[in-house]
C-alpha cells in the first residue's frame, strides 16, 4: 500500500541518500504531494513526477493533504474532512500584520535579515570536508 504525503514546509530537500550528507538532487515545494515508496529511519523514498527518486526527511511531510490556494469546494471539504488542511490558516501573515500594527515598537527588520542567511548544501559539504570533520551521518 503506497502512502501519499504532502510537503508541509516552504521548500524541502530531496537527497540522493537517506542522510543529511546526501547530495540534494531536487527541491520540493510547499503543498507538493509525494508517494512514499519505502522508509528508512526518519527518511522516506519518493519519486516526484515518476522521476528524480530520492529521500526526504519525514519532518518535511504531513499526512494531511495541504491545499495552497483553495477554491470554495476545497474550503467546504476541509471543514468536514480532517485529512485536508488549508495553507495559511491560523497564525499567518494577516495575524503578524495585525500584531505589528498593535506593537509598533517591535522591529522585524533583523528577523527578515537573518532569514536571508541561507547556507547551501555545497557550503555545508565544503565546511565539513575542508575542516577535516569526520561526519558520521545519520539523522
Amino acid at each position: 500500500m503506497t502512502k501519499t504525503m504532502t510537503v508541509q514546509v516552504k521548500q524541502c530537500q530531496l537527497r540522493s541518500k537517506p542522510t543529511f550528507l546526501g547530495k540534494v538532487v531536487k527541491k520540493l515545494d510547499y503543498g507538493e504531494r509525494v508517494e512514499i515508496e519505502k522508509e528508512e529511519n526518519s527518511w522516506v523514498n519518493v519519486s516526484p513526477g515518476g522521476k528524480n527518486a530520492g529521500w526526504v526527511h519525514i519532518s518535511a511531510l504531513s499526512e494531511k493533504e495541504i491545499i495552497l490556494n483553495p477554491n470554495s469546494q476545497d474550503i467546504k471539504e476541509a471543514a468536514s474532512n480532517d485529512e485536508i488542511a488549508l495553507a495559511g490558516k491560523g497564525f499567518n501573515k494577516q495575524v503578524e500584520k495585525k500584531f505589528r500594527q498593535d506593537n509598533k515598537s517591535i522591529d522585524f527588520s533583523w528577523v527578515d535579515k537573518m532569514e536571508k542567511i541561507v547556507v547551501s548544501q555545497n557550503e555545508i559539504q565544503n565546511f565539513i570536508s575542508q575542516g577535516g570533520i569526520k561526519a558520521k551521518g545519520g539523522a
Binding site: 499526512e63 474550503i75 476541509a78 497564525f91 495585525k98 528577523v111 535579515k113 541561507v118 557550503e123 577535516g132
Partner: protein, 308 residues
C-alpha cells in the same frame, strides 16, 4: 469588550470540547491497527531519543494537531523580533555568516532538519551570557556566550543545544494550553482561508499571549532542568552525527561556570547550574574527553570571531 469576553468564554468552553476530542482521537489512533502502525513507525523515527513511546506519542500528536510548521514559523518570527529588540543585533557579517554555517550544518543533522523556513542564526550585541531559540529555528547567541567558546567545537556545542530546544519543541510547550485550544478552535470554526476582522483580532490576541508565554519562559524564567537535559541530550547526538566531539559541550560549560555570576541576570538565572548539566552530560558522553581540532578549524574560528 463585552462581546469579546463572551466570545472568549465560549472559546474556552469549546476549547475543552476540542481538547477532549483530540484525546479521543489519539486514543483511537493508538488502538486502531492501520493508523497505529503509521503512528508507531513515525514515532520511532521522529523521536528516537524520547524516554517512552507514550511520551513521544503525545508530543507527536500534539505537534500534528495543534500548530502546523507554517504557524510555528509566524510564532517564531515574532518571538525572534522580541528577542532582537531587547538585546540588539551584532552587525558583523563574517561572524554571523560563520555561526550560520556551523549552526545550519548542525540543524541538518538534527531530528527536525526541516522547519517551515529553515534555521537561521544571529549574534546579539550583549555581554550577558545567553542564547535563545524560537520554535521555527531562529537561534540567537550573545557575544557574552560566544566569549565562553574557545574553539569551533564549543561554538557547535552552544548551537547544537539550541537546535535541541527547537527539535524538542520546548518553545511551543511554553504556551499555555488553553491558548492553544482557543486558537485551534477559532481556526476550526472558520471555514474560509481569509479571516474576518473580528477573528483576526481574536487570533492576534491569542497570538500575542502565546508570544508572551514563550518569551517570558525563555528570557525571564528559563526552561526546567529536564528540558535542558533533553536539549543537551539532543546536542550530544547532533554533534556526534556531524563529527564534533560532544565533550566540547562539557568543556564549554566549564568555561561558562567560571564566568557566570551566581546572582547574575543571564544564563545563571534561566538555566540549571553548569555543574548540574555537566553531571548529567558525563553520563551521556563516552569516549575521548579531549576534543581536538584541525588547523583549518582553528583558523576559521579565529578569523570569524576576531572582533566578537
Amino acid at each position: 469588550m463585552l462581546n469579546k469576553y463572551t466570545r472568549r468564554d465560549f472559546l474556552n468552553y469549546a476549547g475543552k470540547i476540542s481538547l477532549a476530542g483530540t484525546g479521543a482521537y489519539a486514543l483511537t489512533s493508538l488502538v486502531n491497527g492501520c493508523v497505529s502502525a503509521d503512528v508507531a513507525s513515525t514515532l520511532s523515527q521522529v523521536a528516537q531519543h524520547s524516554d517512552s513511546i507514550i511520551k513521544s506519542g503525545t508530543a507527536v500528536m500534539k505537534a500534528m494537531e495543534d500548530f502546523t510548521p507554517e504557524q510555528e514559523y509566524y510564532i517564531g518570527r515574532t518571538v525572534g523580533a522580541v528577542v532582537v529588540n531587547k538585546y540588539k543585533p551584532y552587525n558583523d557579517n563574517s561572524a554571523n555568516q560563520y555561526i550560520n554555517v556551523v549552526g545550519q550544518t548542525l540543524a541538518q543533522a538534527s531530528s527536525l532538519p526541516e522547519t517551515f523556513n529553515g534555521y537561521h542564526m544571529l549574534i546579539l550585541d550583549s555581554p550577558e551570557i545567553n542564547a535563545f531559540a524560537t520554535p521555527a529555528g531562529h537561534i540567537f547567541v550573545t557575544r557574552g556566550m560566544l566569549g565562553c567558546c574557545r574553539n569551533e567545537g564549543e561554538l557547535a556545542a552552544v548551537l547544537a543545544h539550541e537546535v535541541g530546544h527547537v527539535e524538542n519543541r520546548h518553545g511551543i510547550d511554553a504556551i499555555e494550553k488553553s491558548r492553544v485550544t482557543d486558537a485551534v478552535t477559532i481556526i476550526g470554526l472558520e471555514a474560509t482561508k481569509t479571516f474576518a476582522d473580528s477573528d483576526i483580532a481574536d487570533l492576534t490576541a491569542i497570538f500575542e499571549d502565546s508570544i508572551n508565554d514563550i518569551t517570558t519562559t525563555m528570557i525571564n524564567n528559563g526552561y526546567s532542568r529536564s528540558f535542558e537535559r533533553e536539549a543537551d541530550k539532543s546536542a550530544v547526538t547532533i554533534m556526534e552525527r556531524v563529527g564534533y566531539n560532544p565533550a566540547s559541550l562539557i568543556a564549554m560549560l566549564e568555561v561558562m561556570d567560571s564566568r557566570l555570576k551566581p546572582e547574575g541576570v543571564d544564563f545563571a538565572k534561566t538555566h540549571p547550574s553548569p555543574q548540574s548539566r555537566i553531571e548529567d552530560l558525563s553520563k551521556m558522553v563516552s569516549g575521548n574527553k579531549k576534543p581536538s581540532f584541525t588547523s583549518v578549524q582553528e583558523k576559521r574560528f579565529q578569523a570569524a570571531m576576531k572582533n566578537v
